[in-house]
Symmetry: C2
Subunit: 211 residues, 2 copies
DNA sequence: AAGTGTGAACTTTTTCACAGCT
DNA sequence: AGCTGTGAAAAAGTTCACACTT
């Protein structure tokens, strides 16, 4: 197989499989069948096998999947077998939470620098990282590899986006309340906000009320 | 039309449209064509019109959509025209961030109570809310309507899920690192974590490196 | 006997293209 | 003339079902 591009939904499910495999490893469950893993991931087993076929031939017929080696294959496929360098734009409580969150560090996502546009923050040390003026980003990017730009700024997220893209950053996590997009195929932007995800639940609740 | 169930992707896009409409309203842009709005939302205009057709006949032929009234229709359709009551399970920095986040309050998501299982937290006041023992949830649920249960606990998210469901809560936002599922069609669970969304970017970066 | 991997069938979603309203 | 709303066509994604391997 291969050749075909990975569907977005398949990518999302692969990430879930990885998470559940990590759980199974802690619980010392090994091996596991597609039936059993699928049930724990809320999908059907044909779906799971088809999804995994994008990654490779990972199972043993008549037996199932080795939890350990499937986890390893998924990590590698998802680019989670090494570390990534992040920068952050916009100091606020969410930024603070992310910088102090050791879970992200444990999982290989390392914040390298913080940017802001407000004078009172520039030059300070924030959660152990120096705060730079956004206009000085070139200096930082010249010295360290930056993989992912995280935008937390509520005020001018577009400014951070433009600046990050101008510096050649290819992957953006936008956590502001305004969704951001790029026509450029070579740029990947993920938009997330808590009101966004809660609205998915509010729609469900409204629907449920009506019935 | 109508009759057909709303696809998940359509729901997600409707939420994006709403966000962008709020932005357009602030910018005093009104009316707007499907072409223009679609471009700002990173979708194609036929897609946008088809999505909106699930909500109703909202546009004016030859003119476009009124930003103000389209925003209103979407809010109503998404259940965002009134307030929702939330409870939170598991005290930690993420819980703290959510409880202190006035944006959620402004958008109609109100935290009513906090639960934990660790004695040292019970009975304390945390971000202005009383912390109850999870085992005493029935007492709280008897006195206030609870719409959404938010799970922040890292240690035993399953315990919070089971307890919330047992109390009849229909909508769950799980922010722990273990994805949770329910077979029950009448229960809606949204799983989110920062490592999850960053993994989508790491996959993209890995792919990009390979080419 | 058990359980994967995958073509083929089926279902859903997206895009096209244009009739019809303003 | 301009732009929506929507059937119909095309594309994409999911599920079935079974050949095949251990």
């Amino acid at each position: 197989m291969k050749v075909k591009e990975l569907p977005e939904n398949t990518l999302q499910r692969l990430i879930i499989y990885l998470r559940v495999l990590e759980y199974l490893e802690r619980e010392k469950i090994d091996p596991i069948s597609s039936e059993d893993l699928a049930r724990r991931c809320g999908v059907n087993s044909a779906q799971l096998r088809k999804d995994l076929s994008f990654v490779g031939n990972l199972g043993t017929k008549g037996v199932g999947y080795s939890v350990k080696s499937l986890k390893y294959s998924l990590k590698k496929f998802l680019g989670r077998n090494h570390e990534w360098n992040l920068i952050l734009g916009g100091i606020n409580p969410l930024a603070n939470f992310l910088l102090e969150n050791s879970q992200l560090f444990k999982e290989g996502f390392n914040f390298m620098a913080v940017f802001d546009t407000r004078d009172e923050y520039i030059g300070k040390v924030y959660s152990g990282l120096s705060v730079y003026n956004l206009s000085q980003i070139s200096y930082v990017v010249r010295n360290i590899r930056v993989d992912i730009g995280v935008i937390t700024a509520d005020e001018t997220p577009e400014l951070y986006l433009e600046t990050f893209l101008r510096e050649g950053i290819k992957a953006i996590l936008n956590l502001s309340n305004v969704p951001l997009f790029s026509e450029n195929e070579k740029i990947k932007i993920e938009n997330f906000s808590f009101p966004f995800i809660l609205t998915k639940l509010s729609y469900f609740l409204k629907l449920y009320e009506e019935k």
